[in-house]
């Protein structure tokens, strides 16, 4: 079995038609991880016992001839910011290096309930703070397309595992672009659904009003299937939406004739790489050929999105990360003589530079005398950014932009310049601030052979339109797409 070419659907079919067993698949994936992941570093923890138990369950279902659930036998990877019962859960941080979660995140529980097999936990920037995966407290992840380059972040391991074929699909979290940006860099599909669409229960919090849960896959159809199994109200997350879940798969492959696609000049300005621009413009041409009406629009406050984001996200983070104090869980520094000293020593030793920087920035923005000038000001600008989308979506069905200003950059290139690193998310943070859904789909490669991503944004809860447009782009661009992820559907049919 060529693991590289497996999709969610073809994996399930292979198990259903007894071409293989779930147990044999798990064997093959662990062999591949063993042989190849040292060079990539996508995984932090493997959970063999759990994977084989689930595989045995799926195989028993198949043997009995029972109807198989939608993700039956599909080996997936989970970003290490989701809690997994009795499996180490670190959030990429040394401070949680020994943390064994006592319960499963809702997203994980629902995927396993649908028959998916969790192979392991993937590497990420510490507490999901970063755009290159270089802020992992353990080791960096390398881009499967070019090992000298970053996979993007913060869900770098989850994107790289799918691109490298060491998982069929995966999940990540996206607070400012952490699913879409690594998807673009690694040449896979990554979806950030609407805020509230997927439960955050068991997602280790970074910035609660911006944190989203979503899937990675090789194809648009795969992420639609993954979303289908995770979406919906969860009583354990009060912000999860009480909105019916449509059948996403029905929309994948539907025509886009007559749809209005907005193109905002603010996403094509200074700083956009020429090859990325050309690829995205080619994608937009394909949508026009497929019958879409291309409408120029304006999202006038876009340039204020990054400064707004870095106030809101760090303020929330400074509060959320106060819990890492060495008392109830995690690694405690042993040399504190008083409680306060123990807190400080524990946090100094256990947290990395970027996390400390963001805690400091957020604490400053919330401190007496600065709350109005920074935090409240950013919240007001956030309203303007959300209003930009309201106005745009009054006239268009979806908005198409580049996912990132450039293709994957080199390891070490931006580590000493936090502001330059923050700008890697310039086209993705707006969707988090407004809560609207966005997907990144491969859209060709640059001259160096690095993948380029195109982003499609939609109205709140209109994932169906986003998936529909994404599927058209995916198929139009397949010829130019990279061999690691091109035409897996065709490959699986052989």
């Amino acid at each position: 079995m060529n693991l590289h070419l497996l999709t969610v659907d073809s994996t399930r079919t292979a198990v259903l038609e007894k071409q293989t067993t779930a147990t044999a698949l798990v064997d093959e994936f662990y062999q591949k991880i063993e042989a190849e992941d040292a060079a990539i570093g996508a995984y932090l923890t493997l959970c063999q016992e759990r994977a084989y138990l689930q595989a045995a369950y799926v195989d028993a279902l198949a043997d009995k001839g029972d109807a198989l659930p939608p993700l039956a036998g599909v080996p997936i990877a989970i970003k290490d910011v989701f809690t997994t019962k009795r499996v180490r859960t670190t959030a990429g941080s040394k401070i949680l290096g020994n943390f064994i979660a006592p319960y499963d995140a809702t997203a994980v529980q629902r995927l396993e309930g649908a028959g998916a097999i969790v192979l392991g936990k993937t590497n990420c920037d510490e507490f999901a703070m970063g755009s290159s995966n270089e802020n992992s407290g353990f080791h960096p992840v390398r881009n499967p397309h070019d090992h000298s380059r970053v996979p993007g972040g913060s869900s770098g391991g989850s994107a790289a595992a799918v691109a490298a074929g060491t998982a069929v699909a995966s999940i990540g979290s996206d607070t400012g672009g952490s699913i879409r940006q690594p998807a673009a860099f690694c040449g896979v599909v990554g979806l950030k659904p609407t805020y509230g669409r997927v439960s955050r229960y068991g997602l280790i919090a970074f910035a609660s009003s911006l944190d989203h849960v979503g899937p990675f896959g090789k194809t648009v159809k795969d992420v639609a299937l993954m979303l289908q199994c995770m979406a919906g109200r969860d009583p354990l997350d009060s912000t999860s939406a009480d909105v019916p879940v449509p059948n996403y798969l029905e929309h994948v492959g539907q025509p886009v004739t007559g749809m209005k696609i907005g193109v905002a000049q603010e996403y094509f300005g200074e700083g956009l790489d020429a090859e990325v621009r050309a690829a995205v413009e080619a994608g937009i041409q394909e949508l026009a050929k497929a019958g879409c009406e291309i409408v120029p629009i304006s999202l006038p406050h876009t340039e204020y999105a990054i400064p707004t984001y870095y106030v809101v996200a760090t303020a929330e983070a400074s509060s959320n990360l106060a819990r890492y104090d060495g008392v109830r869980y995690g690694v405690r520094a042993s040399d504190g003589q008083t409680l306060a000293e123990m807190y400080r020593r524990t946090r100094d030793a256990g947290l990395g530079t970027e996390v400390k920087r963001r805690i400091m920035l957020g604490t400053y923005a919330l401190s007496a005398g600065y709350y109005d000038a920074y935090y409240l000001k950013a919240q007001r600008v956030r309203s303007l950014l959300a209003r930009d989308f309201d106005n745009a979506f009054a006239t268009v069905d979806a908005i198409v932009t580049p996912t990132t200003p450039t293709a994957a950059f080199k390891l070490g290139e931006k580590v000493d310049d936090p502001l330059a690193m923050y700008l890697a998310d310039i086209y993705t943070v707006t969707a988090n601030l407004a809560g609207v859904p966005g997907i990144s789909v491969p859209c060709g490669k640059n001259k160096e052979g690095l993948p380029i991503g195109i982003q499609i944004l939609g109205k709140a809860f209109d994932e169906p339109s986003v998936l529909r447009v994404a599927h058209v782009v995916e198929h139009a661009m397949a010829a130019a797409a990279n061999p690691l992820s091109a035409s897996p559907e065709a490959g699986a049919q052989r």
Partner: protein, 101 residues
């Protein structure tokens, strides 16, 4: 403009010690990032409501129905909740002494 004194004050609030090198770096980075954030002041937002979260815009219930009934239900067993404690006497979390004599 963030000063060394501000860095010390904020580090104290955040329960971080920070080494000398980290403090110097933090001073430089915070000023650079806050300088960038200052461009928000180009916008007149006096008539704009602050937006803390999007859930109320999109479907999360804000009414009484968002609340579950206030009834007792099983919670994490004690031993599982204590399992990750760095120091415990089996019943409580143990910490260095809080009150100085």
């Amino acid at each position: 403009m963030v000063t060394e004194k501000d860095v010390s004050y904020v580090a104290d609030l955040a329960h971080l010690d920070l080494t000398e090198a980290e403090r110097a770096r933090m001073l430089k980075d915070l000023n650079s990032i806050l300088g960038y954030i200052d461009r928000l002041n180009e916008l007149d937002t006096s008539a704009v409501e602050p937006m803390a979260q999007v859930a109320s815009r999109y479907g999360a219930r804000q009414d009484a129905g968002a609340m579950r009934p206030d009834e007792p239900r099983p919670s994490l067993p004690h031993d599982e909740a204590m399992h990750n404690a760095p120091a415990s006497d089996g019943i409580f979390f143990k910490v260095p002494k809080v009150i100085e004599r």
